[in-house]
Amino acid sequence: MIEFSGVNKWFGSLHVLRDISLTVARGEVVVVCGPSGSGKSTLIRCINGLEPFQSGRLLVDGTDLADRKALLRLRTEVGFVFQSFNLYPHKTALENVTLAPIHVRRLSRAQAEERGRALLEKVGLADKMDSYPHQLSGGQQQRVAIARSLCMQPKIMLFDEPTSALDPEMINEVLDVMVGLAREGMTMMVVTHEMGFARKVADRVIFMDRGAIVETAPPETFFTAPAHARTRDFLSKILHQ
């Protein structure tokens, strides 16, 4: 479904992705963690073309990311959830969710709204359809953002630190939605430090440092017997804070 081979990216002289090779299969849930500045956000932003890269090859759902013309179509198949939600402040929750289905997927308003209502119900916001983002809590906003991505019926969902901007008491309402999604068989890549989430649903956990993938392992191995010293060091910092 997602296939990196030898991908490199530089910001000026800064080497932010070093020779990334990684394959994610259909239905797989992969958690990416690592210290800040390790390139994990950049990694998943490459997958829907929000970040260009300079060398290597990246195939997503059979589409080569080098093909800028296919990018628009590819983005309709890949959902992206941002750390800062990025809901449209001038639109209600339901309008946020239906905007792209109407204008990009060309659904009728009625069809889009039917789908949008069902998804907002699914993320527990049946009573917030007509609220504007500024009337919603952070956790509610992020759930609207997830519903907005799902309304395009994507094949892959990418999450860029979806709970990092949330107050602690709101983290679980968002994670619960993501766990449900993972159990339905969605292909997911999630940048997060929520290790409980990783233990519960991840098929693999990836540790990145200084732009490179240091370690890849199933969660039980990753947390109990990490192979690399840098992984152990990182885990001891985030698990015993």
Partner: protein, 220 residues
């Protein structure tokens, strides 16, 4: 004595009314054209094509940095020498809407840049084209941000339209010039002309203030 002059000035009410009509018509037409071109300018100025943005920036700065009277003279006296013959009215509209477009263009560009980059990223990530992203997501938010300054710019446009009396258009200011030739009391005549402008502009100033208050309440 004052009453005598006032009576005589108001005897010229058809001229005053005609002048006011010209001022409103000229401003309105230039406003519509200036807004249309100004939004285009703003999109280019805030756009990804650096060279187009810079070239346009130079053009805009030229008109922001030269007196409007000079611009009117350029359009009215110099363009005919290169074969572009314009009536006084057309010249007035061209000069006014060009200047309005330049100022509005900078306002629109500032508004577009004030919309957080996460907004266009979210739009792009959902598969929208650049045009859809602009039309559906970025521009509506920019318009909310800039509406008060835009209305303020309209007020400036109406006042600047008085300069076109210099090329012979019978606007509100020129109607004052005409009247003062037979009623030798400049203070009274131009006082009344001033009140005419005030009547047009004051509601707009109020509107701008109200929009500003409402704008601060939005998005919180």
């Amino acid at each position: 004595m004052v009453w005598f002059y006032l009576e005589r000035i108001f005897g010229y009410w058809p001229v005053l009314l005609k002048g006011m009509g010209m001022t409103i018509g000229l401003s309105l037409l230039s406003l519509v054209i200036g807004v249309a071109i100004g939004f285009g300018f703003g999109i280019i100025r805030a756009g990804r094509n650096r060279w187009a943005a810079r070239a346009l920036g130079l053009y805009i700065d030229f008109f922001r940095a030269t007196p409007f009277l000079v611009q009117v003279f350029i359009v009215f006296f110099i363009l005919p020498q290169v074969g572009i013959e314009l009536s006084a009215f057309a010249a007035g509209v061209v000069a006014l809407s060009n200047m309005a477009a330049c100022f509005i263009g900078e306002i629109v560009a500032a508004g577009l840049k004030a919309v957080p980059p996460g907004q266009s990223e979210a739009a792009l990530a959902s598969g929208m084209t650049r045009a859809q992203q602009m039309r559906l997501v970025v521009m509506p938010q920019a318009v909310r941000i800039i509406t008060p300054s835009l209305v303020g710019q309209f007020v400036l446009l109406i006042k600047d339209s008085s300069v076109v009396s210099a090329i012979g258009l019978l606007d509100l200011t020129r109607s004052g010039w005409l009247i003062v030739q037979s009623v030798p009391n400049g203070l009274l005549v131009f006082g009344i002309v001033g009140v005419g402008y005030f009547i047009i502009c004051y509601p707009l100033i109020h509107l701008s203030r109200r929009l500003e208050r409402r704008g601060q309440a939005a998005f919180l």
